[in-house]
């Protein structure tokens, strides 16, 4: 019996399994345990959360393999890790380490100013960020098996995540109403393959799961983006930059699972301590969401 690994269905399949869940940024095995205890569906192993990357400046790169292996050993849920945009050698290393998903991420400093990684060349699946539908479709055409709206990582401010989700989902709604000639015009405007735009027109949804990242800090933030149409959430700095990470992590997991029930979101939002300190987007020196093309 022949086993086929690394197929489109197998790559997208893991993303389907994470739906309705919370993927948490962790920088130590101890944090990974806290995340898993709180019900995280997966963890993102990295050396610094985006808020600290933003504060420290300098070039942000793939994490130390020893640190990723420590986190892999600490938990049973899937472990993701970040490679720089276009840095296929970092992605090869992450695949060799056996991570379950590679995030080709704008949170790290881009390694290539015009090319993203050819993700079809890998067995490990990739998630990529997008600020609009064209960007999402270009990443899918390069082989991304999951899209996350970028938001503004490390800002603690949900406004960019909402904007990006509304851009992506709003355009999908319009495309479902397009006639056959307009489908070609949409492909041109979005700088995306006609075949993918046609598929959107026919199905009304991206061919891969759409998750949300960048700025989620509270249970109500998670409920908001899930109601807008995200299928799961990434929480980066929002958990471990808050006063009581374990309690907040569990509350965000419950709010994501029960995002349509405001009574449950209210119940889990009580007494969580201070959320991470957020920032106005206009006051940020670097806008991470602008990285990638």
């Amino acid at each position: 019996m022949e086993r086929q690994t690394g197929t489109e269905r197998v790559k997208r399949g893991l993303a389907e399994m994470l739906r309705g869940g919370v993927i948490m940024d962790v920088v130590t095995p101890e944090q990974a345990k806290i995340a898993e205890d709180a019900g995280a569906v997966a963890v993102m192993a990295l050396e610094r959360v985006p808020a600290d990357i933003r504060r420290d400046g300098g070039v942000a790169r793939m994490s130390d393999p020893a640190m990723i292996e420590g986190i892999k050993a600490a938990v049973t849920v899937p472990v993701m890790a970040k490679a720089r945009i276009g840095h296929f050698a970092e992605a090869q290393v992450l695949e060799a380490l056996g991570v379950d998903y590679v995030d080709e991420s704008e949170v790290l400093t881009p390694a290539d100013e015009s090319h993203h990684i050819d993700k079809w060349a890998f067995t490990v699946p990739f998630v990529c960020g997008a600020t609009n539908l064209g960007e999402a479709l270009r990443r899918i055409s390069e082989g991304a098996a999951m899209i996350r709206s970028k938001g503004e990582a490390g800002s603690g401010n949900i406004v960019e995540a909402v904007r990006h989700l509304r851009m992506i989902l709003g355009d999908i709604r319009k495309i479902t109403q397009a006639d056959s000639a307009e489908v070609y015009a949409w492909a041109k405007e979005l700088r995306a393959p006609v075949s993918l735009v046609q598929e959107l027109h026919d199905t009304g949804r991206l061919p891969v799961p759409l998750f949300c990242a960048g700025g989620i800090a509270t249970p109500a933030d998670a409920s908001l983006v899930m109601q807008l149409g995200a299928e799961a959430v990434f929480v980066g700095s929002g958990i471990f930059k808050s006063e009581d990470p374990a309690v907040r992590a569990k509350a965000i997991v419950e709010a994501t699972a029960h995002f349509r029930d405001p009574h449950i979101v209210a119940k889990v939002s009580r007494g969580l301590g201070e959320a991470m300190k957020g920032q106005e987007i206009a006051e940020l020196d670097v806008k991470l969401a602008e990285r990638g093309w």
Binding site: E2, G6, G13, G21, T76, A257
Partner: protein
């Protein structure tokens, strides 16, 4: 017939779609209230540790356990298989399962995501089924009352005990309706 799909986390919509395609009436189950209306329950794929935590916090664990003890038919895929199993190997110490299927199942037994695969599978009574295995478990011990319907390399991956069915793979992802059809036929 109203068939519930446990909808706390995971690939709920694929199961609901498969049930609709077969003419059944899927009901998403997130609260104990929704449980009262259903005749059978599907436990989807996802992360079993997350679902186990959410079953507790949602107050669903005990009511589902009680319905299962009363003979409610159930079908679990991947994480759902783990939730139905009597014994869970390589699980978390605090991970709970319903224990209505007398098997010992090992989590992530086929390896990590790079080892996830699809393959043709011989299923007793159905013939060849295209199966998708995602960080999948397999069964290491089977109790006397359990029938093994398919294996990969001698490891059971599809089992039933009376009206409780469990698959280590994801029939809901491959567009093959026959396993869900078998389940619905057996429980109706």
């Amino acid at each position: 017939m109203k068939v519930g799909v446990l909808a706390l986390q995971g690939d709920v919509s694929e199961h609901a779609q498969t049930l609709s395609d077969l003419g059944a009436d899927p009901v998403e189950v997130r609260t104990p209230d929704a449980l009262a209306a259903i005749d059978a329950l599907i436990l989807p794929g996802g992360e079993s540790t997350t679902m186990s935590m959410l079953l507790e916090s949602s107050g669903l664990f005990e009511p589902i356990a009680s319905r299962l003890d009363d003979g409610m038919p159930a079908f679990g895929t991947c994480a759902g298989m783990i939730l139905l199993a009597k014994d869970v190997l390589d699980g978390r110490a605090d991970q709970r399962s319903f224990g209505v299927l007398d098997i010992a199942v090992r989590r992530n037994a086929f390896g990590r995501q790079v080892d996830s695969f699809e393959s043709e599978l011989d299923v007793d009574g159905l013939g060849t089924v295209h199966a998708v295995f995602i960080r999948a478990p397999y069964v290491e011990r089977v109790g006397d009352g359990v029938e093994v319907l398919a294996r990969v390399d001698d490891h059971p991956v599809l089992c039933r005990e009376g009206r409780v069915f469990a698959a280590a793979f994801h029939p809901e992802l491959s567009g093959d309706l026959r396993l869900h059809e078998l389940f619905l036929r057996e429980v109706s």
